[in-house]
């Protein structure tokens, strides 16, 4: 019993149930209104027909009166009343109400002559008892005429209509209630289906998706939106998982090497070379962690408060200045092509680092290249910082992989295969940081062909600041 009441309570408190009942109530109201109006229309129609009958009868009577006086009208009265089942009531009376002809024993009291319809309950020896619709007419000073029609036939029709309506209502209502409950059930089931998917995903089954029926109704749209959200969540989690897996994997090799060096040092003594090797491994580990941290922070949008107005010509010239000798040593020329006076609000250290990573990527991967060009320009889509080389480039289908965190391209592309001395060698973190920095600025990284070579574009949204703006005040040191 308690279980039943609890279930009932749950059913009543469920918003879908409440909705179903509201819908049912509205339906009931509408059906009742429709039936009521049918009834009223029928009633009006029947009354109009009765009135038309009475008026016709009166006209015939008056015509007979005018044609032949008392004799003629009395004959007509008798002739009409002789027709059985006509439902007529006729009374020809003198001025005081004494009957002269007709089927009514006497003129009812308080009746005024004129065109006002009266509804009276009448009875007589030759008159069936019932409700009658009557008109009283003064023929002349000494004669009155009452004509009328039994309303009971119309009433019978009306009550028949009423019964029919009630019967149909009695049939429709349970059907409507059933339908409403069914629809409520159906919508509840579809919502419950979506909720079930969300629950399954919460429980760890990340690849579950809400079923779509392509009807594009609200439930289908809801399922679509939920699925899009789940796709995004799954992608983010996948990326995170890849980062942690790869970080664990990539940390393992320098750590293993370090472990080996320590072990060798324990058995055969420490020399300067062994210590240098250990220090290099540690530096590599620290750099990996710092870069991974920086990517996470940039992705989280930390650092926007440190944007400063920066002259791109100056920024790129400084970058070329720092990396020039390394490029020269690798046999590449590092050129800068920037229009003067392009001033942009940006995170200077991070953009410097992004440019540096792009250059190092070019140095490491662009086997056979002869030049790296740094350039910048302002276009309708934003401000582009471009690092282009004339090496072998990256096939378009690998562009996304190149930008994903830790993504490694075919090692054959790497000029040095990620030598131990090269701290970032083969780590793939470099371009991922470039992408994260671009996103921090609300922009993106585009990889394209330089015909030949790789053309990496850091596209920052917006327009250059007015040239009058003071150039970035370099942090004095």
């Amino acid at each position: 019993m308690a279980a039943l009441s609890a279930r009932l309570h749950r059913l009543l408190s469920a918003s879908s149930t409440r909705l179903v009942f509201a819908a049912f109530a509205v339906q009931l109201l509408l059906v009742s209104l429709a039936m009521g109006s049918v009834y009223l229309a029928a009633e009006r129609e029947i009354a109009a027909r009765d009135q038309a009958l009475v008026l016709e009868l009166r006209e015939d009577m008056i015509a007979a009166w005018r044609a032949g006086g008392m004799t003629e009208i009395a004959a007509l009265v008798n002739a009409r009343l002789a027709l059985s089942g006509s439902g007529h009531v006729i009374l020809l009376a003198d001025a005081t109400g004494n009957p002269l002809a007709g089927n009514l024993p006497g003129l009812p009291a308080g009746l005024a002559a004129g065109n006002d319809w009266q509804r009276l309950s009448l009875a007589g020896p030759s008159l069936q008892q019932g409700s009658y619709l009557v008109l009283l007419t003064r023929l002349d000073n000494r004669h009155l005429l009452l004509v009328g029609q039994a309303a009971s036939r119309g009433d019978a029709l009306l009550s028949a209509i009423w019964r029919a309506l009630a019967a149909s209502l009695a049939l429709t209502l349970p059907a409507a209630l059933l339908l409403a409950l069914l629809l409520g059930r159906l919508s509840a089931a579809r919502v419950a289906g979506i909720a079930g998917v969300a629950q399954a995903v919460t429980g760890g089954t990340l690849d579950r998706r809400a079923p779509r029926d392509d009807s594009n109704d609200v439930y289908d749209q809801l399922a679509g939106v939920i699925n899009t959200m789940l796709d995004r969540i799954e992608a983010l989690i996948g990326e995170l998982r890849m980062v942690t897996d790869t970080l664990a994997h990539d940390l393992r090799s320098p750590l293993t090497r370090l472990r080996g060096r320590v072990e060798r040092a324990q058995t055969s003594g420490v020399d300067a070379e062994a210590l240098d090797g250990m220090a290099a491994d540690l530096d590599r580990l620290l750099l990996m962690l710092t870069t991974a941290l920086q990517i996470s922070r940039a992705e989280a949008g930390i650092g926007r408060e440190h944007f400063t107005a920066t002259d791109l010509a100056e920024l790129l010239a400084d970058t070329a200045d720092v990396y020039g000798p390394v490029a020269e040593e690798a046999g590449l020329a590092l050129a800068v092509r920037v229009p003067e006076g392009l001033i942009v609000a940006l995170h200077r250290p991070l953009i410097q680092q992004a440019l540096g990573n792009a250059i190092e990527n070019a140095l490491r991967h662009a086997r056979g290249a002869s030049a790296i060009t740094l350039s910048a320009n302002a276009g309708p889509e934003g401000i582009d910082l471009i690092v282009a080389d004339d090496g072998p480039g990256i096939p378009p289908d690998q562009h996304e992989l190149a930008l994903s965190r830790f993504g490694r391209l075919d090692p054959a592309r790497s000029a040095d295969g990620g030598a131990a001395g090269d701290a970032m060698g083969g780590m793939g973190l470099g371009l991922a940081l470039v992408a994260a920095v671009a996103r921090l600025h609300g922009g993106q990284v585009l990889l394209g062909s330089n015909h030949p070579g790789l053309r990496l574009v850091i596209r920052l949204p917006g327009v250059p600041l007015p040239t009058a703006a003071p150039p970035s005040a370099a942090t004095a040191h």
Partner: protein
């Protein structure tokens, strides 16, 4: 009299490591293990420089720094932090630190930066037009460099690098100090960017067969010195 350094660091191992190193380098060392004591010692004792950990129990390193600066104490402060991103550095400098070093660090780096801070503290030198070391002369106005009588043709970036080294003679300057001081770069490029710069400069300085002036200091950086 030796200069006195206040070390405010809650991690005992790190504090002992720094104190031992400073002691070996000839400094007097005061220690505090929390922010409150650190603030007290910093405002009271005559210390020449403060090494301040950013995350401290009781009172946060940045709060200590803010309190010091608000109290008009301008003792140079080197902020130590496990947070090594450019933003953390900027936040630290904005709070009034004179330098910022991310953990883990090499002691050589800490010492070099500390010495730079101490020298900056008492070096109220006027504008100079020439710099020199041993037989090396730099004319800042004519932007000319000579070694002995030999004129050395330097690219602008090599000139800036040498100028920085000449302004810090006989001091260890680390790679990151050079990146910050010469190029205003505040991250580790990871490759041997600085080594290439230095070796190119060194080649030009010793082209005439002169003795080496630019020395590599293992585990730290470079030093301009006569031996």
């Amino acid at each position: 009299m030796s200069q006195k350094i206040l070390v405010v660091e809650d991690d005992a191992t790190t504090a002992a490591f720094i104190a031992r190193g400073l002691d070996e380098a000839g400094f007097g060392v005061e220690q505090a293990a929390n922010g409150r004591d650190g603030l007290f010692l910093a405002s009271d004792a005559a210390v020449d420089a403060i090494i301040l950990d950013r995350m401290l129990p009781g009172m946060d390193g940045l709060a200590v720094l803010a309190a010091l600066r608000a109290g008009g104490i301008t003792t140079p402060v080197l902020l130590l932090s496990a947070l090594g991103t450019p933003d953390d550095r900027l936040t630290g400098l904005e709070a009034g630190a004179d330098d910022y070093l991310a953990k883990p660090f090499l002691f050589g780096e800490l010492l070099a930066r500390l010495k730079l801070l101490l020298r900056r503290g008492n070096g109220a030198t006027g504008p100079v037009t020439t710099l020199g070391f041993a037989d090396l002369e730099m004319d800042l106005l004519a932007r000319r460099v000579r070694r002995g009588g030999r004129l050395i043709a330097l690219q602008p970036r090599e000139f800036r690098l040498l100028e920085y080294l000449l302004r810090h003679p006989e001091q260890v300057v680390t790679r990151t100090m050079l990146l910050e001081g010469v190029w205003d770069y505040h991250f580790d490029p990871g490759t041997n960017v600085i080594d290439v710069h230095v070796s190119k400069l060194r080649r030009k300085l010793e082209e005439g067969g002169e003795p080496s002036l630019l020395h590599t200091v293992r585990g730290a950086g470079y030093r301009l010195g006569s031996a």
